[in-house]
């Protein structure tokens, strides 16, 4: 039964471009999909290890910039006589490089996270994102600064010499992002239902106890940060080759806040939560666009976030799940706990 529902859901997602002819709506869905991937990645940190990382957009941006730079190529005048020239690489390799770079920075932040927790960790992560933003803004030789990196090549597939298709259109980008999102969803789902994921949940729930039974706190914090950062980097790479421009504003704190709102609203510490939150807040701005100016929209989001924390602290998914269970009985196995309850 559950498999049937999952399959129906996946088929539905795959069928959308077949009957949805309005490209603009497809564009909205693609953007929402990219942010959903970012939200899924943030959820691993925020929801499962309990680390409120408010610099998550840094990983997204690092993925985007790395992928863009590797696919565009760049040169750096290191000394007057020597210029380092980096030739462009194929987009797929650039995408992987972006994921790796984001993962690497995740490793660094994970190491710091072990030293400082709570309010300190939050501020360190904010600072990290801000430093990265200022570097992207000022290292004009590499990043073009506020002028942004333009004309970033889109993804494409090719059989050498025979056939090639570059993803200028919405359709292939939609499928690409859908596939990546599904992969990320499965990664998080498998992880959190495994020994490794339980170690992360354990250190969220009670770090002292977890370490006393042999959970290596540093290792799992770093692991979670690396995987989370790498997924955020993947989202950044998808973004960069779809929008085909990346500028320092990508590091704005407001995007982290968007991801946090998605996760918290959907239900942190649940696998479906960030998907629900991501789609909701990916699509809502476009629906509201007609009725409310952006500042009014943001006022609504801010108030909404407060309301969720006050009245629905676990988020939509756990609330709906428990309502469903109460109504239709049949408790399920697995990590059948009100996840996120704290």
């Amino acid at each position: 039964m559950r498999h049937a529902v999952t399959a129906a859901w996946v088929v539905f997602l795959f069928s959308i471009p077949l009957w949805m002819t309005d490209l603009y709506i497809l564009h909205i869905l693609i953007s929402a999909g990219i942010f959903t991937i970012a939200a899924i990645s943030l959820n691993l940190l925020l929801g499962y290890t309990g680390q409120l990382s408010l610099g998550h957009v840094a990983f997204f941006g690092i993925g985007a910039y790395t992928s863009a730079l590797v696919s565009l190529g760049f040169d750096l005048e290191l000394t007057d006589s020597y210029t380092f020239v980096f030739a462009p690489w194929p987009v797929w390799i650039a995408f992987i490089a972006g994921i790796a770079a984001a993962g690497l920075f995740g490793w660094l932040i994970g190491k710091i996270a072990f030293k400082v927790r709570g309010a300190y960790f939050v501020i360190v992560t904010i600072s990290f994102a801000e430093v990265v933003r200022l570097i992207s803004l000022n290292w004009v030789d590499l990043t073009e600064g506020p002028m942004a990196l333009n004309n970033i090549p889109p993804f494409g597939v090719a059989i050498p010499g025979l056939w090639e298709q570059t993803f200028y259109q919405k359709l292939p980008n939609y499928y690409l992002i859908l596939v990546v999102a599904i992969v990320c969803y499965i990664v998080v789902r498998r992880l959190v239902r495994s020994r490794a994921g339980r170690a992360m949940i354990g250190l969220r729930e009670n770090e002292a106890l977890a370490s006393s039974v042999g959970v290596d706190v540093t290792r799992y914090l770093v692991l979670a940060t690396v995987i989370s950062a790498a997924m955020a980097g993947a989202a950044g790479g998808l973004y960069t080759h779809y929008i085909r421009i990346v500028d320092p504003d990508i590091f704005l704190f407001i995007y982290t806040v968007t991801m946090v709102i998605m996760v918290v609203t959907g239900g942190k510490g649940t696998t479906a939560g960030p998907v629900v939150g991501g789609l909701l807040f990916g699509i809502l701005p476009e629906v509201l666009r007609e009725f409310a100016s952006p500042e009014v929209q943001w006022v609504i989001y801010g108030v909404f976030m407060i309301a969720v924390v006050f009245f629905l602290p676990q988020g939509i998914v756990p609330a709906v799940t428990s309502w469903w269970k109460a109504r239709f009985a049949a408790p399920e196995g697995g990590l059948g706990t009100p996840e996120g309850a704290r």
Binding site: V187, R190, L191, S194, R195, A196, R198, A199, I201, G202, E205, N206, A208, L209, A210, S211, S212, V213, G214, V215, D216, V217, T218, L223, P331, L335, G336, T337, P338, E339, G340, A341, R342
Partner: protein, 258 residues
């Protein structure tokens, strides 16, 4: 039975200018139930914290089965087979009892991250195995019927049992219990003592910090008395009961009652 399992030598802990534990030596032997007692602030929990890597000693050394525990982190200590419980009830309280157990079984799993992500068959087999082990330990402490419930929903006595079960899941060869019976009613306490003895009989050495003298005197093979950071006395419950300094400093009427 007389092999030394845990040995503590010259242990000293300062907090700022305060001396919590001062030049303390003691051993715990393989297969015994040893108790560490003393009035509040005597340094019992501090000693536990040092042994299990939660606190850095100012001086002195701790060895377990020949390996030094100095400077190890709690999870490294657990890897050597030394596992503890905490003075204040300490559970993964937002999770179900069975999930509490599965986290406790962390050390028994072997699955690596890439294997997990690929969902290899051996990971699935391991999961099934871990769940069976969890059920077995719950059975052992008498919590089988609670598996699906939220840990925080359990009555107090069962929460304390669950703590022990979680520690047992980490497969300790030395189990450190920090005031496990505090807050239990007499029948819960009696039941608890039986279970601790049973655990020892299955080959786990037990080192206990406890205030309840019925527990200490009832199950200990040996008792170590700590007072104001130094060892006051050491011996069998019978010897401790009669030790004049212990009676004066600490036990008073309680010893006579027991």
């Amino acid at each position: 039975m007389t092999d030394t399992a845990l040995s503590v030598e010259g242990l000293t802990v300062h907090f700022g200018g305060l001396v919590a534990v001062s030049d303390v030596d003691f051993v715990v032997r393989e297969g015994e139930i040893a108790s560490l007692i003393g009035p509040n602030g005597a340094g019992k929990t501090t000693a536990f914290n040092v042994i299990t890597g939660f606190l850095q000693a100012s001086a002195g050394s701790v060895r377990y089965r020949g390996a030094s525990l100095d400077g190890l982190r709690p999870n490294d200590v657990a890897d050597l087979g030394v596992v503890r419980t905490f003075q204040k009830t300490s559970l993964f309280s937002g999770l179900s009892v069975i999930d509490n157990m599965l986290i406790g079984l962390h050390r028994r799993g072997r699955g690596r991250v890439w294997e997990i992500l690929l969902a290899l068959p051996r990971i699935k087999a391991e999961e099934r195995d871990l769940r069976m082990q969890a059920a077995a330990i719950l059975e052992q402490v008498g919590l089988s019927h609670r598996g699906g419930e939220l840990a925080s929903d359990l009555p107090y006595g069962e929460q304390r049992l669950l703590e022990v079960a979680i520690a047992l899941a980490a497969r300790p060869s030395l189990l450190l219990l920090d005031e496990p019976a505090s807050g239990m009613n007499p029948s819960e306490t009696q039941d608890f003592m039986n279970r601790v003895s049973a655990i020892r009989d299955q080959g786990t050495t037990i080192f206990l910090v406890e205030h309840d003298m019925r527990v200490v005197m009832g199950i200990s093979d040996r008792v170590i008395v700590l007072n104001q950071g130094i060892i006051l006395a050491e011996g069998t419950p019978e010897e401790i009961r009669r030790h004049p300094e212990v009676i004066r400093a600490y036990l008073g009427g309680a010893a006579a009652d027991a």
